[in-house]
């Protein structure tokens, strides 16, 4: 067992860690704004229509991976079912816009609210189980969505899919892609700010306690059920909104495509790869995976699935903490070369 650490004078007050965390959080808010600005300005530099298309995908996945991480990163519950909310949001927007002849924007706004409610209801049921059981349940969600979309033909257009009007009336495809990059970038800013905000609140601390030891958290007075459901509902809302925007972007919803476990798996892979315990992990993961995935789809389509599977397996086995956490550890080790036994033992055990 590691022995007690050398006490550093500053930590005597217990405030140094607190101050450092507050500073890091404030910095994150600014950095997120910078990221959004960079992404939104991207189309100025990138004029090729296909690259812009890939850009829309990338930013969209950044949004969804970060949203996934509201549950996965904080509570430790791994959902392989977020594709269900993606599809649900897409159909919500499409159906409302088509059936009620309202503008697409109103349909999107309605989708946000509906996804929040549906997310909460599903969360209440699904979060009654933990661990692997929870994962199973979320997979089932995706298939329920797929079946419903195909079964309620009069509402959803069945297996044939659903046409949806666009959000913007730009004529050229390249211009439309640019508009959607900006749209998703703004949504990304919102969800990242939310993640960062939660990270510093008592609510966030309670969620992290759920991840560490749910029973103990309960015995310390944390209402773990309510906390989990809220996080789940927030996560579902953002993924659903992304789905809705996606529907207006492509103009068409294919039930087999949107309700696929592959999409869920990609969100998990991106967050794991980048690091689930960091604000930037999912974004980093998406930035790596989406371009790679597109590359494979275009050049080596037969190997796309195998590659994704191998990557996920490799991350799980070799780097389960993700890139950012691994880099942090290396950084810490470099800064303190005369490591005490505790540190080495601690780093190895981390």
């Amino acid at each position: 067992m590691p022995s007690a650490i050398d006490a550093s004078p500053r930590s005597q007050t217990g405030q140094s860690g607190v101050v450092a965390q507050r500073r890091r959080q404030a910095w994150n808010y600014v950095a997120v704004l910078a990221l959004v600005a960079v992404l939104a300005a991207g189309p100025v530099v990138v004029t090729n229509s296909y690259y812009r298309y890939a850009g829309v995908l990338m930013v969209m996945y950044m949004v969804m991976a970060t949203s996934w991480n509201l549950v996965g990163g904080f509570t430790g519950y791994v959902s392989l079912g977020h594709a269900a909310f993606f599809g649900f949001g897409a159909y919500c927007t499409g159906i409302i816009a088509n059936e009620s002849r309202t503008s697409v924007i109103l349909a999107l706004l309605a989708t946000v609210g509906i996804c929040a409610v549906v997310g909460a209801v599903i969360g209440i049921v699904a979060l009654r189980v933990r661990g692997s059981s929870f994962v199973i349940v979320t997979i089932a969600l995706v298939y329920m969505g797929s079946l419903l979309a195909q079964g309620l033909r009069s509402l959803t257009g069945g297996s044939g899919g659903l046409d949806v009007a666009g959000l913007y009336s730009f004529s050229g495809r390249a211009a439309r892609h640019a508009a959607y990059i900006v749209t998703f970038a703004v949504l990304l800013g919102v969800v990242m700010w939310l993640w960062n905000f939660i990270d510093g609140t008592k609510f966030g601390m309670g969620l992290k306690a759920v991840r560490e030891d749910e029973d103990r958290a309960q015995s310390l007075g944390v209402n773990t059920t309510a906390f989990k459901v809220v996080a789940f509902a927030l996560s579902a809302t953002f993924v659903g909104s992304a789905g809705g925007i996606y529907a207006t972007w492509t103009g068409f919803i294919d039930p087999i495509f949107v309700f696929s476990v592959q999409i869920s798996a990609q969100l998990v892979l991106m967050s794991l790869l980048g690091g689930t315990r960091s604000l930037w992990g999912p974004v980093l993961g998406a930035a790596i995976i989406v371009p790679s995935s597109e590359f494979f789809l275009v050049n080596l389509p037969e190997y796309h699935l195998v590659t994704m599977g191998v990557m996920l397996g490799a991350v799980v086995l070799l780097m389960p903490n993700g890139i950012i956490a691994t880099l942090r550890r290396l950084w810490v080790r470099r800064r303190a070369p005369a490591a005490s036994i505790r540190e080495v033992a601690g780093a190895v055990g981390a």
Binding site: R128, S132, S133, A140, Y143, G151, L312, L317
Partner: protein
């Protein structure tokens, strides 16, 4: 719905239930042995079906007679996967990470299948299986009966091994209390590896059966995993018998709904039961006390 159609559906459901039961019990075995949910189980089922298909087409071997080849192959592969991959997970989150790892394996298997066989639907037609029995006006497809017989025989063999063999006792000891088992000399690592191998072997059997009763395509396994998972949750994680009972019950209900409404709603049966179980009895109807915590 007419009475004869109803009886027809029930019979059909029993036949499907048998196959579901075989596969679900394999899944329960994985859970009991290693506390992991082997998401890749149906993927290997499909791999088995494709292998049977290839062996049948290339060498003209009867699908059921490919089992002497595929079963040992899968057994060894299962042991290898457990030893080389799953045993490497030593983490607090091992249960969760193993789900992701088996998920990754499933994706790799599917990717391999679609690269080699492409996405087109395949199936095997064998003469003796194409007809149907007629039993008091009820039409019973022969291929399904064969499926039930093979599945049933395998299940009974599995239960016999678990109950009466020395290995079965070691396995049950390891499932219940690994440390205590180790203390009395059980080599738990080896037991786990063999257990995994047996699970995979049941996938090989299931694959051979699947190849003659239905068409298959690479991404079809996801539908199966969702259904099998629903069966396991309803029956109760860790309860092999419970999974079998749930498999038959849900199989029958699915078949009836399919005749009555449509295949789409038939699929929903599994998920509805899953959610109802979660709401009212999360540990399943026959499950152990802390089943839902895994």
């Amino acid at each position: 719905m007419t009475r004869s159609l109803f009886i027809q559906s029930v019979v059909f459901g029993i036949l499907s239930g048998g196959v579901y039961a075989l596969l679900a019990s394999g899944l329960s075995l994985y859970f009991g042995v290693m506390r992991i949910v082997q998401i890749a189980h149906p993927a290997f089922l499909f791999l088995g079906a494709y292998l049977t298909y290839s062996l049948h087409n290339r060498f003209d071997i009867d699908p059921l007679l490919t089992m002497p080849i595929t079963v040992p192959l899968f057994f060894v592969t299962g042991m290898a996967i457990q030893r080389l991959l799953l045993a490497r997970l030593r983490d607090e989150n091992a249960a969760m990470m193993s789900v992701l790892l088996t998920f990754a394996i499933a994706v790799v298997v599917e990717g391999g299948l679609s690269a080699v066989y492409t996405g087109s639907y395949r199936s095997i037609d064998v003469e003796y299986a194409k007809k149907a029995f007629d039993w008091f006006g009820v039409r019973i497809p022969r291929d399904r009966v064969i499926g039930l017989v093979v599945a049933g025989a395998t299940l009974m063999l599995l239960f016999a091994v678990l109950r009466y063999s020395r290995y079965g006792r070691s396995l049950r000891a390891t499932m219940q209390h690994p440390e205590a088992a180790r203390l009395v000399g059980v080599e738990t690592e080896r037991v786990r590896a063999i257990g995994f191998g047996i699970g995979m072997a049941t996938a090989a059997v299931g694959g051979a059966v699947l190849s003659i009763i239905t068409t298959f395509f690479p991404s079809g396994h996801w539908e199966w995993i969702a259904r099998l998972m629903a069966i396991i949750v309803v029956g109760g994680l860790g309860s092999v018998g419970g999974a079998a009972v749930a498999a038959f019950v849900l199989g029958i209900i699915e078949a009836v709904v399919q005749s009555w409404l449509s295949p789409v709603w038939a699929g929903m049966v599994f998920y509805l039961f899953l959610f109802v179980t979660l709401i009212f009895r999360p540990q399943g109807f026959f499950g152990g006390r802390l089943a839902q915590r895994y």
